[in-house]
């Protein structure tokens, strides 16, 4: 099957500090992959490179067969990204934020699509609430709804469960299952692997910028993040 994400020999430095060192992997349609690693291992940098927010120093990065460096704008159209920040305007309501981003992505039948993603994340009752009045959990749900709004073939989620309650996590888990069934590719980072192990088919483990494990999520030991502390060995 043709890869939707192809990363080969990816390197990124911040000044003298290496963040990613020769990372290579491929993701195929319908694959839900969890990205693990201790703090500072390069998870966020890797996701931001794939989202075109950080320019790689070396290596090949393709999303949907498009080279990231040459087709950044096209790549941005086929990925959904949710980061540590919610990317929401606090003065606007949930619906206004989603409508604004929907217009940026030129989402067809936008009002219907907003209702759909609001339903997925249980936001129907809060569509007319200003974001600043929402709890952290509902802000996170709105951020996830924003990332999903244009139904992207590739979804990149950086610690998506941050701030989510049990119901929010269940909704996210159900969504990942549905996306898998629809052939979407999902790469999400996690610090709570034990809780989210069942969500992923595959796991990538980064340690000090190197990819130290790439295989079925079920093959990973439960204490994967504790192995070797900041330099996890698997």
């Amino acid at each position: 099957m043709k890869a939707t994400v192809r990363v080969e020999g990816l390197e990124k430095r911040y000044g003298l500090t290496p963040a990613l060192r020769g990372v290579s992997f491929e993701l195929t349609p319908g694959e839900v992959c969890v990205l693990l690693g201790p703090n500072g291992s390069g998870k966020t940098t890797l996701l931001k490179v794939l989202a075109t927010l950080v320019r790689p120093d070396r290596g090949v990065v393709e999303v949907g067969g498009l080279d990231l460096r040459r087709h950044g704008r096209l790549v941005r159209g086929i990925i959904g990204f949710s980061g540590h920040q919610t990317y929401l305007y606090e003065e606007l309501t949930v619906a206004e934020n989603l409508r604004f981003y929907g217009r940026m992505y030129r989402v067809a039948d936008l009002d219907r699509r907003i209702r759909e993603v609001a339903e997925v994340f249980g936001l129907n009752d809060r569509l007319n609430t200003r974001v600043r009045a929402l709890s952290r959990g509902f802000q996170q749900r709105t951020a996830l709804a924003r990332a999903l709004l244009h139904d992207p073939p590739v979804l990149l989620l950086d610690e998506p469960t941050t701030g989510l309650d049990v119901e929010g996590r269940c909704r996210l888990a159900a969504l990942l299952g549905e996306l898998r069934a629809r052939g979407r590719t999902v790469l999400f980072s996690s610090h709570a692997f034990e809780l989210e192990r069942a969500w992923a088919d595959r796991a990538l483990v980064l340690s000090a910028g190197r990819l130290v494990f790439d295989g079925p999520a079920s093959d990973l030991p439960a204490n994967v993040l504790n192995l070797g502390g900041a330099h996890a060995r698997v």
Partner: protein, 223 residues
């Protein structure tokens, strides 16, 4: 690709946020009016020095107020990390610059629309509004074109409030000179043709710096 619909959506979003928060408009307007009142007390404008001082008073007021407004152009994005959200959108990043420029320009023109009648009343002038409005539009566009770019640049720094005027004032000297000279023609009631060279300079500056800023904006907002 620069889509007009997206540009409209970006500007509408900025103006709606400003309409709700009124963070920038109120503070800028009050500041402009206060500066005009202070100048009114500081200078004793008489018929013989009015034509020399009044244009300078007006534009110093506008420029100081504009620096205040331009410093907040990327505030909503910077303070809440939303700029990355905009950069994720499949739009030409120059479109973000153009939208911010239009939003800043609208804000500056609203402030000027209130400040000019106050200026006329305080200094007892009788000015034709249409020519003055044209000068204000071209001057504000020039100032906002550079200011919006530098505001994005300064947003990444710790000393952004101090850095913006240091970057902005030197490069805006042609705009300041041209607007003051053109306004002098309006205040003096001289033939309008005398202001044409200054207006041409303003149009040239505006076109040049809107174009350059549009092209380099992507480099400014990259990591």
């Amino acid at each position: 690709m620069l889509g007009f619909d997206r540009l409209v959506a970006l500007v509408a979003k900025d103006l709606l946020i400003e309409l709700r928060s009124r963070d920038v408009a109120y503070s800028t307007l009050v500041f402009a009016l206060l500066v005009l009142v202070i100048f009114n007390f500081a200078f004793e404008l008489r018929a013989e020095n009015l034509q020399v001082l009044a244009p300078g008073v007006l534009w110093v007021t506008f420029i100081f107020a504009a620096v205040l407004a331009l410093g907040r152009v990327f505030a909503a994005e910077r303070d809440r990390g939303v700029l990355e959200g905009l950069l994720l959108c499949p739009i030409d990043r120059g479109a973000i610059y153009l939208a911010k420029l239009v939003s800043a320009l609208v804000l500056m023109l609203v402030v000027e629309a209130v400040a000019i009648p106050a200026f006329i009343a305080l200094f007892g002038l009788n000015l034709p509004l249409l020519p003055l409005g044209l000068v204000a539009l071209l001057g504000s566009l020039g100032f906002a074109s550079v200011g919006t770019l530098f505001s994005a640049l300064a947003a990444h720094t710790r000393t952004r409030e101090g850095l913006l005027p240091i970057l902005l004032f030197p490069i805006s000297v042609p705009v300041i000179i041209a607007t003051v000279k053109a306004t002098t023609v309006v205040v003096a009631g001289d033939p309008w043709e005398l202001a044409l060279p200054w207006l041409q300079l303003l149009v040239g500056f505006d076109a040049l710096f809107v174009g350059i800023s549009y092209l380099v904006f992507e480099l400014v907002v990259e990591d």
